[in-house]
């Protein structure tokens, strides 16, 4: 990542999108929109003082919405470039409110609220599409209740929960528990505020609110307006404190998630959604189960899958090691349903094909190994570039020319071509680089057959 950022031959156009393509192999003209960050890129040093002071809190996309960031932000801590960006949808200043705190804070004078998008043209000889993939949205699967049951998360959300730089600093706190803790924090804040108001009355009348309230309810202070106010405030305070105490009691029993279920083929190998196999998800689940066990040795994971596809170098060995050392077990079959159970423990319904019985099993947390889907804008991008797609929306190639699109001079690599794992993506990236280099280095050989 770092090497890309500082390579003299690479011009990085982050926060930008390709809007047009004209011409043919060797002579393409590309239109690129550089979206405004409202921050001068040559001045921002990425120090983060602006984000620290920014008053607007927004869910953090990098942490899959599980954490929070500010309206001015760097995409992630080690991101390249480290230039900060103002989120125009949430920034107070850009939405007509008085603010501009970031501009006052920035010592490099980098904030510019008037900065506009810039549209530039590039002349290139070849194009490589490495647009990646989107994670399948599991809320489309009614029987898994992803939206309704808080402790059902996707594999990439789980990844952020496992990460030391993620919203839980790597502790496997369950989303339902985190919601309760958030509610407690909010109630505590309210309670503190109302406590302050009560304290004023208590000082004035030199009496505790509780003993006053008893007398008040006995009808002692009828007609006393000031004491009526005190009583109202105290009632409101109790309405905060009582649920707070019960939540606090509940929170005492919270532990990190230890019983984990991983559901494979969520959206993949499913005729309703994507019939293909997403390739990497089996290994992703095994890895997450092993890492979770590293974090918390009492963790036990069950991976539910039709086939466990551990096909890469060292993968089968890794799978066996997970089973032997990390408390991971494998159940063959597709999970029929996930339902809400007591204590926010999701219940997984499946057929044990070995015993030929339908079973229900409760877990602390269920992780959905979601399909590798084409990116949302893929059809539009393909149209802009004039390349063909396969029936599923990936860029079309052929087995003997694995990185050539049907348009000469335009190549593809990684999950934009089809679902694949990291080493394959890296190998394909080099293949696409090779094909692109052949176009720009050897123009006289352009006519040579496009077969690789």
């Amino acid at each position: 990542m770092l090497d890309v950022g500082r390579h003299p031959n690479i011009e990085l156009l982050a926060y930008s999108e390709v809007e047009g393509l004209k011409g043919t192999a060797g002579e393409f003209t590309i239109t690129v929109r550089k979206k405004t960050r409202y921050v001068e890129e040559d001045k921002c040093t990425g120090c983060g003082a602006c984000a620290e002071k920014c008053p607007t809190v927004v869910p953090d996309a990098f942490n899959e919405g599980l954490g929070e960031r500010k309206a001015i932000y760097s995409y992630f801590a080690q991101g390249i470039p480290s230039t900060h960006t103002i989120d125009a949808d949430h920034c107070r200043q850009l939405n007509g409110k008085k603010c501009g705190i970031c501009a006052k804070t920035c010592q490099a004078d980098a904030i510019n609220f008037d900065k506009k998008d810039q549209v530039i043209e590039l002349d290139v000889g070849a194009v490589i599409i490495a647009a990646g993939y989107d994670v399948f949205d599991p809320s489309q699967i009614p029987e898994y209740h992803y939206t309704e049951i808080p402790n059902v998360v996707t594999a990439i959300e789980f990844e952020r929960l496992l990460s030391a730089s993620g919203p839980t600093e790597g502790h496997l706190d369950r989303p339902s528990d985190r919601a309760v803790l958030k509610e407690i924090a909010s109630l505590e804040k309210q309670a503190k505020k109302s406590q302050k108001t009560l304290a004023r009355f208590e000082e004035k009348y030199n009496e505790s609110s509780a003993s006053f309230y008893d007398k008040f309810q006995g009808g002692q202070y009828e007609g006393d307006e000031d004491r009526q106010k005190w009583a109202d405030k105290y009632a409101a305070h109790l309405a905060i404190v009582e649920p707070l105490e019960s939540l606090q009691k509940k929170a005492e029993g919270f532990t990190v998630a230890r019983r984990l279920a991983f559901i494979q083929c969520v959206g993949s190998r499913d005729f309703r959604f994507y019939p293909f196999c997403s390739g990497y998800c089996c290994m992703h689940s095994i890895k997450e189960a092993i890492i979770a066990h590293e974090h918390e040795p009492e963790t036990a994971s069950v991976i539910f899958g039709m086939d466990i596809r551990a096909v890469g170098k060292g993968f089968e060995e890794y799978k066996i090691r997970g089973g032997n050392d990390s408390n991971v077990s494998y159940v063959r079959g597709r999970v029929a349903e996930i339902s809400a159970g007591p204590d926010d423990n999701p219940v997984v319904t499946f057929e044990d094909t070995r015993e030929r019985k339908v079973k229900n099993q409760a877990f602390d947390l269920v992780v959905l190994a979601t399909a590798c889907a084409p990116i949302k804008g893929m059809a539009a991008l393909a149209e802009t570039l004039g390349v063909a797609l396969d029936p599923y929306g990936f860029i079309k190639t052929s087995p003997l020319s694995p990185v050539d699109t049907e348009t000469p001079g335009i190549f593809v690599c990684g999950c934009a071509e089809s679902p694949m794992d990291v080493p394959e993506s890296v190998a394909q990236a080099s293949s696409a680089a090779e094909r692109a280099a052949e176009v720009v280095f050897q123009p006289e050989m352009k006519e040579e057959k496009a077969v690789a």
Partner: protein, 55 residues
Amino acid sequence: MSKDVLVIGGGIAGMQASLDLADMGIKVYLVEKLPSIGGKMAQLDKTFPTNDCAI
């Protein structure tokens, strides 16, 4: 006739393709729609089968 190359997407594949080309002496424009490059792999904690850090 241009000898430059455009790479669309700054994930692991786009970064590797850009580096290969740049190391060959080719000028590369790397376009990424998000504020920083890194892609999905930057979101990963560790990777199988070696449990190395992602990037």
